[in-house]
């Protein structure tokens, strides 16, 4: 009986509305960036015109997603995952390089970035694996398998030299946490990051050693003198020192040169305003010059005159900041918050674990993009080239995020048909 009900009645229109607003506003901003006098927003030779084509095709994709049987996604999760990874691998060998990233596949005159699709594919597999009967998050074997699932696309994308997109997959750690993984891993990750930055900030590593030594001694003297506790504290202290010692090595040998520069610039923003710091400097100038209310639609000088690089893609937020001021920034951030909360709400109301995990994956991937993208434009994160979802110019990314979101909406629409298997 429910099967006969129209899908339009079961769709979560709030999410669709938020999606529509963000995409539309993004499109206006893309127009504003490319705008020159007497230009028409629909002119297909400019970015806004092309973005409209991408938006139109996204609607077609949405239709397709909604028509396909909801069980298809769970059933063919591995197949999709395999296919996308295969495409990504092809890109590594035959790919077309754009902006230092070898992430593009050319089909005729049409460029296409398979890594954008790896996100929803991985989300499907993660969801499917976690929802497998007998899966237990506290089992080491399962944890290894999960990390293997996210590491595979990460590594392939790293081979494409697209560090930003590769890092997106670390967002799944938050999903694992929601599904019961110990927070220890996240805390260790955060700790290592802090130590990494501290080591780069503090010239003399012996100062850090001294601090660790003091903390270690204090903990020894204050707490109970159980052997297990002493061992843990001592091992932790030694590991910390080892991390510090290895930072230089990691920094100089693992990171690429432009990445090293971007991190240095983040720590010392005035370091190189015309070189590695140029993006962030110009981006902050553009956003900062917007003031409280902004300069008005189509009136931003910094974005219009192309001081900010990659402004219709990764640095699209500058246009908001410059033309719509703090109020505009507040609205964009609020829209994303509303969308994220809605997705979490949708995820939580799913009856199947598959749909819930998938929902969280969507939320966490969008959140990661949102955080890194806006954070880098205002100088809080190093410049990692990843787009602002639904907002940035680009077909692959818009399609990728649209598929990601609308599979969730499709699953949500059929949530009542699912037998509770957990």
């Amino acid at each position: 009986m429910m099967r006969e009900e129209k899908i339009s009645n079961r769709m979560d229109w709030i999410t669709v509305l938020l999606y529509g607003i963000i995409v539309f506003w993004g499109w206006l901003n893309i127009f504003s960036v490319t705008y020159e006098e007497n230009q028409f927003i629909l002119d297909p030779s400019i970015n806004s015109g092309r973005q409209l084509i991408f938006i139109g095709s996204s609607i077609a994709i949405i239709m397709f997603i909604l028509i396909i049987d909801m069980r298809f996604y769970e059933t063919f999760a591995w197949v999709i995952y395999g296919a996308v990874l295969f495409l990504c691998l092809i890109v590594v060998f035959t790919g077309h390089e754009v902006g230092g990233n070898q992430a593009w596949l050319r089909i005729g005159s049409f460029g296409f970035q398979p890594s954008e699709f790896a996100k929803f594919a991985t989300a499907l597999v993660v969801a499917k694996y976690i929802s497998t009967v007998g899966f237990r998050m506290d089992q080491f074997r399962n944890q290894v398998a999960l990390f293997a699932i996210i590491l595979a696309p990460m590594l392939i994308i790293l081979l494409q030299k697209d560090t930003g997109t590769a890092l997106v997959f670390s967002a799944f750690v938050l999903v694992f946490y929601r599904e019961g993984m110990s927070p220890f891993l996240i805390l260790v990750g955060i700790g290592i990051t802090i130590i990494f930055i501290l080591t780069l900030l503090v010239e003399n590593e012996y100062i850090l050693f001294a601090i660790i030594g003091c903390v270690w001694l204090t903990l020894l003297l204050l707490g109970k003198k159980k052997r297990r506790r002493i061992t843990i504290i001592t091992v932790a202290a030694l590991m910390l020192m080892g991390t510090i010692k290895s930072v230089d090595f990691v920094f100089n040998n693992v990171l690429q040169e432009h990445q090293q520069k971007r991190i240095r610039v983040l720590l010392n923003p005035d370091l190189d305003q015309l070189g590695a710091g140029y993006h962030v400097y110009q981006s902050k100038v553009a956003i900062g010059s917007g003031g409280k209310y902004g300069k008005g639609f189509l009136k931003g000088t910094q974005t219009k005159l192309k001081f900010v690089p990659e402004q219709s893609t990764d640095f699209i937020f500058c246009t908001i900041g410059e033309e719509h001021g703090w109020i505009g920034s507040f609205l964009v951030i609020s829209l994303f918050m509303a969308l994220l909360f809605r997705i979490v709400y949708l995820a939580e109301r799913q009856k199947s674990r598959f749909a819930r995990v998938y929902g969280y994956s969507v939320a966490c991937i969008l959140f990661f993009h949102f955080t890194i993208n806006i954070g880098m434009t205002i100088g809080l994160f190093p410049v990692i080239g990843i787009p602002l979802p639904f907002f940035s110019y680009g077909g692959s990314s818009l399609w990728g995020f649209t598929i990601l979101l609308f599979i969730l909406l499709k699953l949500d629409a059929h949530r009542l048909q699912v037998l509770d298997r957990v």
Partner: protein
């Protein structure tokens, strides 16, 4: 088991959003410096340099005008790649010069004197010929632009010191500019009229704001040109100089050191002001300014030393006329007073024994004027001869100063010197507290001793005689712009402390100097009564300085001249010849005495 994790994840979302909003609030609302940075980024500010005012002579002939000049500007940020070999070839510079230019640019940027985003002068003053070549090639060099400005040009090589020169503002001048008008790289009048009338000549800069993109490509006016201003050209100066007379004076002074000043007595307008030796003002413009400046300022003949205003000499015998006026005013002499030419105390020359005042001036009788000064200084105001001299000298100095001696006159040129009129205080210092009286200081009676005057003061002095007792401060500009009037200080008549009726004696005596006295051979003109006075100033161990002051015609004088030729012997020779030639040239238009002209040009005055 996963209780509360949903909430924790949502809290993480909110925390990130709040951090972003706070950071955005800081850079968008609290810290307004980004708005300024955005403006310097996107708005290109072009300074529109005004055309500097012209300088014309009294007959409307152009003396100083402007030539277009081109600076090469660089916007460092736009320079991605530079073919240095090609660059050096096109701009005709050596790789070393190019490197030096870049190094000084980097230094300026480091010291925040320049910005890599703003156009900065890179090579200054490309010459016209260079420009034609460069114009065709400038597009090859990204980030380089041409800026047009003007540089000074002169229709005549004359008047260099009076006109002065224009050059880039120095660091000191920039620091001392309290009006905050000037910017680095601006041009400013450094001497002469260019410096004195700087505020009138310079005009007002305009500015044009244009939007540009990151490649520096102009996208149109900023806010429809609302903040743009046009440049306002500087005001023209109408000079009192007669450029023909000036050129003639410089022609006569060729190879000599000294000065000629010719003044229109009725107005104080300077007709010509020659400083010898001089230089070609065109040398101090354009690209070779620095090297030429070195050359000129190191010249041992000191061509930059503006002798008419800055050379302080003893006046010599011409001073006897001033002494006569003071003595008459004080009543210690009458024109009829005869004094015996007693050559025992002070030497004299010529064939005379017992002259009256006119005769004493005509023959330049030294003992006469020694005695005149004695009577002037020792009038018996005190029984103490020392005190008496003090009282007399104080009175004397006041009279002498009323002729414009002892202090700068206030000509419209910088760096004017005042000379020296010795006062009691001066002699107290000179004698270190030991007593002094008339017998110690009498050489001032004949214009030797401690007196110092500059040639301009001598010319002003002869103007006073010509005017029978008054003067207008000598000046070089009769009209600023179209105003038709000089500065107010040049419209004011100054009277001396001598009653006008006493001057007729001096005029008559000076007429006789030329007609029958020391000046008769070289200063006499056929149809014009020239009144003059010679001076021969001791200059041991070198030859004497030759001095002559004159005005003509006797009634309604049109020109008053002072000539000072260093190391040229008797005043009756070099100076008298030059003065009379100047008068002839000005009043008649040409010289009718080629023999005298040849005599001056030959320059053999010592025999």
């Amino acid at each position: 088991m996963n209780q509360g994790r949903k909430e924790i994840i949502q809290v993480v979302f909110v925390v990130v959003a709040v951090i972003f909003l706070l950071k955005l609030f800081i850079i968008q609302v609290i810290d307004r410096s980004y708005a300024d940075l955005a403006d310097t980024n996107a708005i290109r500010k072009d300074v529109l340099y005004p055309v500097r005012g012209l300088i014309l002579d009294r007959n409307g002939k152009l003396m100083v005008y402007n030539n277009p000049e081109y600076d090469l500007l660089i916007i460092l940020k736009e320079v991605d790649y530079l073919d240095t070999a090609r660059f050096c070839h096109v701009f005709d510079i050596t790789p070393e010069q190019l490197r030096a230019s870049f190094e000084s640019l980097y230094t300026d940027i480091r010291n925040r004197r320049a910005s890599e985003l703003q156009p900065t002068p890179f090579i200054k003053q490309l010459s016209n010929r260079d420009f034609a070549k460069i114009q065709d090639h400038i597009d090859e060099f990204e980030g380089f632009y041409i800026q047009a400005r003007t540089t000074r040009a002169y229709s005549s090589p004359a008047m260099a010191n009076a006109i002065g020169y224009v050059s880039e503002i120095t660091k000191n001048q920039l620091n001392n500019d309290s009006t905050n008008f000037y910017r680095q790289g601006d041009y400013i009048g450094q001497s002469g009229l260019e410096a004195f009338y700087e505020t009138y000549l310079r005009g007002t800069r305009g500015v044009r704001y244009q939007l540009r993109n990151k490649d520096g490509i102009i996208k149109g006016p900023y806010k429809d040109g609302r903040y743009d201003t046009l440049s306002v050209p500087g005001q023209d100066l109408y000079s009192t100089i007669d450029i023909n007379l000036q050129e003639y004076g410089e022609y006569l002074m060729k190879g000599k050191s000294g000065s000629i000043i010719a003044i229109e007595p009725a107005t104080g307008e300077i007709l010509s002001m020659v400083s010898g030796p001089s230089y070609d003002p065109a040398m101090l413009t354009g690209r070779n300014y620095s090297s030429n400046f070195q050359l000129i300022s190191n010249d041992t003949n000191k061509p930059l030393f503006n002798r008419p205003l800055m050379a302080q000499y003893r006046p010599g015998s011409i001073f006897k006329i001033a002494q006569s006026m003071v003595a008459l005013q004080e009543g210690v002499l009458t024109p009829e007073t005869r004094i015996r030419c007693n050559r025992a105390i002070i030497d004299c020359h010529g064939d005379h024994t017992n002259e009256d005042l006119r005769g004493a001036i005509t023959h330049s009788c030294n003992p006469y004027f020694r005695e005149a000064l004695r009577r002037m200084l020792n009038q018996g105001a005190s029984n103490d001869p020392y005190e008496d001299t003090r009282i007399g000298l104080t009175k004397w100095a006041k009279h002498i100063e009323s002729f414009g001696f002892g202090d700068p006159l206030g000509i419209d040129l910088p760096n004017e010197k005042g000379g020296l009129v010795p006062s009691p205080a001066y002699y107290d210092r000179a004698y270190g507290g030991r007593p002094w009286k008339f017998s110690n200081i009498y050489s001032i009676s004949i214009g030797e001793g401690e007196n110092l005057v500059v040639p301009l003061q001598m010319a002003n002095f002869v103007s006073i005689i010509a005017n029978r007792g008054y003067y207008y401060t000598p000046h070089l500009v009769s009209s600023i712009g179209k105003s038709g009037i000089p500065l107010s200080q040049y419209q004011e008549k100054h009277y001396t402390s001598i009653d006008p009726e006493h001057f007729q004696v001096a005029v008559d005596a000076m007429e006789r100097v030329v007609a029958a006295g020391t000046g008769q051979f070289r200063a006499k003109l056929k149809d014009i009564i020239v009144c003059g006075k010679t001076g021969t100033v001791q200059n041991d161990p070198l030859p004497d300085h030759s001095v002559f002051i004159a005005f003509a015609p006797k009634e309604n004088p049109k020109i008053a001249v002072s000539v000072y030729v260093e190391d040229a012997g008797q005043g009756a020779r070099a100076a008298a010849s030059i003065a009379s030639l100047m008068i002839e040239k000005y009043l008649i238009g040409e010289t009718q005495r080629p023999i005298i002209e040849d005599y001056v040009l030959r320059g053999q005055f010592l025999y």
